[in-house]
Amino acid sequence: MPDLLFCSHYPFSRQAKDAVSDSGAELSYSLVEKAEQRLSNALVSGKIKKLADLPSAQQEELAVYAVCRMIASAANNRYIINRYAVAEAKRAGEYLASDEGARPEYIQEVAGEFGIKLVAQGKNFALPLSSYLSFTPRSIDYKLTNREVEKGMVLVSAHERLRILEEAVKKRIEGSLPIRAKFSEEVQEAAKRMLTLIPKLEIAATKVGQENYPPCIKKLLEDLSLSINLPHTARVALAIYLVNAGATTDKIVDYFRGAPDFSEKTTRYQVEHIRTRKYNMPSCSTMDSYGICIAECRCGTPLRYRDAMHGARLRRIEAEKKD
């Protein structure tokens, strides 16, 4: 017998998958409707509501989750898939936090789902280096350099281990979608409605003034417009650059609208924070160590790119004159 409570909390798990296929639930109109609701909540608010832990609701929730995946697949759009994955991961994160006290065995089981071996060490946990590197969010908080690393194991706090599992959930969902299949008409109709929920990016407006941006910054902007999830370090670097390039906060926030986990409030707060604290632009070598330097412009910092390029052009013109 599948543990329905576990399955409903963690519908991406193998156990949940088996439970759905065993139940042989029929695709009904109400199921598609509920799935559409779940998906549109994810797209609009970035959140998926948790339901009461009732056995009848649990079985249905599993089916709803499966249909959500179908709709997202039928929509076949990176923004929808990534933003949905973020919302599902957040939902799972909330359950992980509540299950930590009440049903600690669930945490181990979710970890096992991703092949993550968690070893308790006092209040903390150790996990294998490869799992750590595969599933930690790329942010300065998780920089390996500042971690306790020993014999191939990395130490994390109890809270961090939940955050890592949440990231693993996000990666699994992102990676497993879209499913290639033929979907029913109802699902395809729902998918069409989902596509209308994608915020319209004013592509033309965001292009203005970009011609002088260095390649790394252009690439980050392009990734954002494709709803690719940028690591934290990349977002900070981009925001610092834009602040220094004279972009208004509104404009910068607009650029970030493409991010699959976009939250206007958080973005606005962070951009303002960067502006008032006068954050320094990371140097090219720092950008490189973040893995977001993509060209060898030899300008020292992305902020000098424009001058460096203009300088090079001027020198070239001078040289040509001499010839």
């Binding site: 590197l133 595969s134 350099t145 500042n146 306790e148 690393v149 020993e150 014999k151 893995g291």
Partner: protein, 377 residues
């Protein structure tokens, strides 16, 4: 030995007699050389010539036999292969190769402390120590790889390559590998993350702990034996009792139980200084690059004529003794630029002024030809 080495159809200038000579030598080596590259059929190969270390890339071989045939026939002056394993190693652009996994590699080079074009034993010794530090303190101790997962080879010039072949890291992406490289080089290491204030107390890493924190604590405790070092932290540490007191407190992670003036500033200062010696010196870009082409172990380096020898025990390896492999015969060469005093396989030669001619043991002559510091006389 007289058959001509196949010349690919290109628009290059005709080969010089020196290049022809070296290619013939290299070809004879490859006829019998150990080919130690793992799964050659899944790698992309790159061949280099007189002008460029990688002239041709996206080369695929079906098996070891084909690799040997090509090496004997074409005798490239440099041979490198991808750290990655691909489904279609010769496909282009890169994405079509279908990346499957990759070795994790570390590149150590003496270039940083190098004194010039010619090999300097002092620099070579230094880089060997750095390779040892990388292996002992990072790869085995911190990352927990086993010795059997590591394979070390001389670069053929002035460095070493360490290849890690472990399922645990084979599928890591660029970003994850960048984290590993940053860890080894101490990039992004922050004092504030390892030390913190708690009321009047000042805490930091314990010597028993893993990571850079533990490395620092252990090194710091050791350095306290040095009176000059101790006094630069506090005059109070002139007394042995005070030193012992501080030392036992650091064992518990408490860095100040003796009242150090400006302790935060001083500790941070020491931390920044010591971080440099605790960190490894590797080329981080090589480690992070999942499609890097790297010199094939046991192939010849066209800039020295030395073999990129697989090394069993670093301690026992002497590059200037073990890497030269053309150890038969002599050759007369004419030196074309100033060459300092050198020693290869215990044979001392030089210094030479431009224009000098000398009949040298083959390895020394090949070395000067490869350095483009001499021509056939």
């Amino acid at each position: 030995m007289d058959e001509k080495i196949a010349e690919p159809q290109t628009h290059h200038a005709p080969r010089t007699p020196e290049e022809e000579f070296l290619r013939r030598k290299f070809s004879s080596y490859y006829a019998k050389a150990p080919l130690t590259v793992l799964k050659p059929e899944s790698r992309e190969f790159g061949f280099g010539g007189w002008e460029k270390k990688i002239e041709f890339r996206h080369i695929r071989v079906r098996n070891e036999g084909e690799l040997r045939t090509r090496l004997v026939n074409e005798a490239p002056l440099y041979i490198s292969h991808s750290v990655a394993y691909y489904e279609f190693p010769d496909a282009r652009p890169m994405v079509k190769k279908n990346w499957l996994s990759a070795d994790l590699v570390f590149d150590l080079d003496a270039a940083e402390h190098s004194c010039g074009k010619f090999t300097c034993t002092h620099c070579m010794e230094k880089v060997k120590q750095e390779a040892q530090q990388l292996i002992e303190e990072f790869l085995l101790s911190d990352f927990g790889f086993s010795k059997s997962e590591l394979s070390i080879n001389f670069s053929g010039s002035r460095g070493y390559h360490v290849h890690v072949r472990s399922d645990a890291v084979a599928s890591l992406d660029r970003e994850a590998r960048r984290e590993i490289a940053d860890y080894v080089t101490g990039t992004g290491l922050l004092f504030d993350r390892l030390f913190w204030k708690d009321g009047k107390k000042f805490f930091g890493p314990k010597p028993t702990q893993g990571g850079f924190g533990g490395k620092f604590a252990r090194a710091f405790l050791k350095r306290l034996d040095d009176e000059e070092f101790a006094l630069s932290i506090s005059r109070k540490l002139k007394k042995q009792e005070e030193r012992d007191k501080l030392r036992s407190s650091i064992q518990q992670g408490n860095y100040d139980n003796i009242g150090i003036a400006n302790r935060e500033e001083k500790l941070q200062d020491k931390f920044l200084q010591m971080k440099l010696t605790l960190a490894g010196r590797i080329d981080a870009n090589v480690t992070a690059d999942t499609s890097k082409l790297i010199r094939m172990a046991d192939s010849l380096h066209g800039g020295s004529g030395f073999a990129a020898k697989t090394v069993q025990t670093l301690d026992d390896f002497e590059p200037m003794r073990d890497a030269p492999i053309f150890n038969e015969g002599e050759l007369k060469v004419k030196v074309t630029e100033a060459v300092p005093a050198l020693a290869i396989r215990d044979f001392s030669f030089g210094p030479y002024s431009p224009g000098a001619t000398a009949t040298l043991p083959m390895a020394c002559a090949v070395y000067l030809l490869c350095k483009k510091a001499a021509v056939l006389a």
